[in-house]
């Protein structure tokens, strides 16, 4: 497909550190992380539970604020932006798939997929959303609410939503964590297929070694530090 590797990485961090203070002590969750993700790559961040994987993902997306360090996303130093500007950048550049799907219970499958399109002001949101749901095999579930869908179906909706705005970078946080293994495999297949079709860069957080092997590169985290 039209994957094009450009000089500047689509995502890079510099000395990214996240600390949390409690009454007694200061916990360092992430310590001075430097990493690069180039366009078109599929990178797996792996590590044991509590190693800081999800915190790192959150910082990469600008969903959380680091104690120090930088994140450059699509050429922009995201922590120089305010919250609204970061949100706008996310809407334009990023797609998300979460372990617990994170669909809005008030909205139907179709409306959930339309949401990022409408937020971005896309005019034919409904048509695009329908096409995507069709693509993930939910053509007959358009008007179902999340609670009327199975876990696998919910994750399909979430994947359709993630690809709706044709993001440059897809962030996935343990996307199969809440699914049985058979469904998990189907979801992963779907995600990689769409990733290829859209030429999206993928950053996948998982503790599943087998899954991580499907990515072109693995970054290992332990105790908040990168171990290459």
């Amino acid at each position: 497909m039209g994957n094009k590797i450009v000089d500047e990485p689509i995502l890079w961090t510099s000395a990214l550190t996240r600390q949390v203070s409690t009454d007694e002590e200061q916990l360092t969750i992430l310590q001075s992380i430097d990493l690069q993700v180039n366009a078109g790559e599929a990178v797996a961040i792996i590590g044991a539970s509590g190693s800081g994987k999800s915190t790192l993902l959150g910082l990469l997306a600008g969903l959380d604020i680091p104690t120090s360090g930088k994140v450059h996303l699509d050429g922009v130093d995201i922590f120089k932006l305010d919250e609204d500007e970061r949100a706008a950048l996310r809407g334009k550049v990023l797609g998300f798939v979460f372990q617990s799907f994170q669909l809005l219970p008030a909205l139907t499958a179709l409306e959930n997929v339309m949401l990022p399109l409408e937020l971005a002001g896309v005019s034919n949101a409904e048509v695009s959303a329908q096409r995507l749901l069709d693509r993930v095999g939910l053509a007959l579930r358009l008007h179902h609410y999340p609670k009327q869908l199975s876990g696998g179906e919910q994750q399909r909706v979430a994947i359709a939503r993630a690809f709706a705005t044709a993001p440059k970078l897809l962030l996935a946080d343990e996307p199969t964590g809440n699914l049985d293994s058979a469904t998990g495999i189907q979801i992963i297949e779907l995600m990689f297929e769409l990733n290829r079709e859209h030429g999206t860069t993928l950053v996948l957080v998982t503790h599943d070694e087998a899954l991580s092997q499907r990515c072109s590169r693995q970054i290992r985290l332990a105790d908040g530090k990168l171990v290459q």
């Binding site: 959380d64 706008a88 996310r90 998300f96 617990s100 008030a106």
Partner: protein
Amino acid sequence: MNFFKLSFLMLRRDLRAGELNVLVLALVIAVSGMTTVGFFADRVEMALSSESNQLLGADLLVISSHPLAESYREQAQKFDLKTSTVTKFPSMVFNGEASQLVEIKAVTDGYPLRGKLYLGGTRESPQNRVANMIPEPGTIWVDEKLMVRLNLKKGDLLEIGSTQLAVSELIIREPDHSVGFMNMRPHVLISAADLPATDLIQQGSRITYRLLVAGEARNVERYRSWIEQRLTTAERIEGIRDARPEIKAALERAEKFLSLAALASVILAAAAISLAVRRFTLRHLDGCAIMRSLGASQAGLSQMYLLYFVTLGVVASAIGCLLGFGTQEILTIWLTDLTETALPWPSWLPAIHGMLIGMVLLLGFALPPILNLRSVPALRVLRRDIGRPNAHSLIGYLSGLAALSFLFIWQAEDLQLGLYFVAGFIIAIVVFGLLGWLLVRMLSGLRHQAGGAWRYGLASIHRRTISSLVQAVSLGLGLMALLVLTLIQDDLIEDWSTKLPPDMPNHFLVSIQSDQLQPLEAFFSRHDIDQPSVYPMVRGRLTEINGEAVSPDDYTADAHAERHIRREFNLSWASDLSDDNQIVNGAWWGNASIEEAEISFEEGLAKTIGVKLGDRLTYDIAGSPFSAKITSLRKVDWDTFRVNFFVIVSPGFLEGYPVSYVTSFYVPPAKTAMIHELVREFPNILVVDVAVVINQVQQMIGQVSQAIEFVFLFTLLAGFVVLYAAIASTQDERIYEAAIFRTLGAKREQLTRAWAAEFAILGGLAGLFASAGASALGYAVGHYVLHLNYTVNPWIWVTGIFVGVIGVLVAGMMGTRSTLTTPPLLTLRKIG
């Protein structure tokens, strides 16, 4: 496992973490609002009765035709009450050759115990002044009528029985001056010490003995119950409620207004608590699931939560009571110049009420849904999507409704008013619920046509249909209570005050003779006074009902009825029914000539003496019998202070009997001098000045209105808590929504718009419900309870919907502001 300890640990943790803020706030404000109302109403009520008691000259009168037992007075003193006695009888007094029948009052020290006795000014200080003692032995105080009629001046010797007393003061106004038509002779006041010397106390004299009692309301009540068991048939007691119908009506209406205000805060509290409990239940699901998975029994969980809530209720209600006591003190200080007398100290009853109200409200609304938590499946530990119990349990609402109904009826202290509220409340909830459901369905249909923000607003409301309805109905009820209290209360009070127009008759003329009608008319024209209607009056004693003789002895059980039978009735005739009379049963005679005399009887008195439609009454009029059938029962509006009769006869039957006339008219303050002239020109006519009573009633209305307005501030505060609770109850869902929106790239403004749309729709629904409910309630309360012709104010709809939309919108946006600044990851982790 020690659930006792666990319960306290959990309560402490939740309190510290602020989990119970809404619940505690709702309960504290509810209870403090209620107890403020309670304490204050208690004091105002006591003050009101004590002010009205000024018209009696005491808090309680013991009246008898025989000398009263000394033990009555001693017992009153034992109860720490002040006493005084009045011996009252009619007698002739002489100034040389001139004589006049007067009402003599012989009083002991302390008279009057309530109210003030005003005396005329002296040459040195022409101002009227308040008497601070009773007449000295050897002196007599006389009123203006007697001064005029006997042409007296100070220092003249007045012959009274076998003694002579020197006129020393002019009585301007007595507190216990009777307004009835029976005692309109001139009045004189003497010291009881002079009584024996008059030799007037003889067998057969028409003497009334009165013991005046006054003191703290509680002691008066104790004394009242003590003496009620000892009264002989010749004795009766009279408090303000037993006395004048117009004061009684005003007092009862005042009490109803206050309980109305109190009821409004009950509704608000219930709504707030019910909303807060929903959030509590959702937040405690996981904890319960974990405890269940660790082996906690259902009974154990129930015990723990019961203990948790009882403790919470007791603590919050106690804080509420303390706050309520404090605020009513502030209120009292603020309002001190409102009441002439210092407000009496409140009783402890409102505090006990407050604790009970707090517990009933909390347990009634919170317990059933919270006890439901015990049935959370332990499996929820593994799968968070299961075991989400229905946060709106039917049982919960039913038990809440039952608790509320109980409180309504109890608070109203009036079964009818309470039942009206309960019925209105249930109907409102059902109608609002159904209407709301339909509206939500209709609106959701529109969401595919609606643009961005509206779509998400509508989607949120639709997804949480039940929650949204509960929110809209709670807010609607709260807003309804506020609307009722502001707009409708203003209207009702206005309706009530307008019933006392500034030119309301303040003088009555009685015993006008037929040949005086024309000269009187001329007199009024001369003084530029509108000709008042003149009513004929024939006096007759009721002797038979349906052919059976009646005697006062048949009515010994009811002193009020007995008095009416003993006295002569004032019978009048009229061809038209006046405005302040309303036929409630039977029919008024038209203009058609009728063969046989008919009677229209006042319904209250008919009940008292036990006569009904169709009964034939026989009166003894000046020695000859007059008989007629009751063909209608009338309700009389005694508030108007116009001439009214218990018994009206169809025209053409009484004209032959000895007749006199009675009228009432308004004398502007500038023209009071004409009354002197009237008395000189028509010496036989009795002039009764009711200005004092009217002033008292008007003042009372003013004070009650102010008190209600203050109480309304609490209702308003409670209204804000409902609003806060309503918004907080969906806060968690909103925080989650915000996180997803933000993650997907929504700008703050986009999210704000979506929520604003939701809040506006919710507020609009609440406003609609509130306006509809307030109109219906105002009409019902005005019409059926307060008996006012209340017309629904169309502005209520505009105000209701506007206040609903703006209020919920502003409060909602303020309440959700913090969620907009929370980093999304934090939320997604916490909830996800």
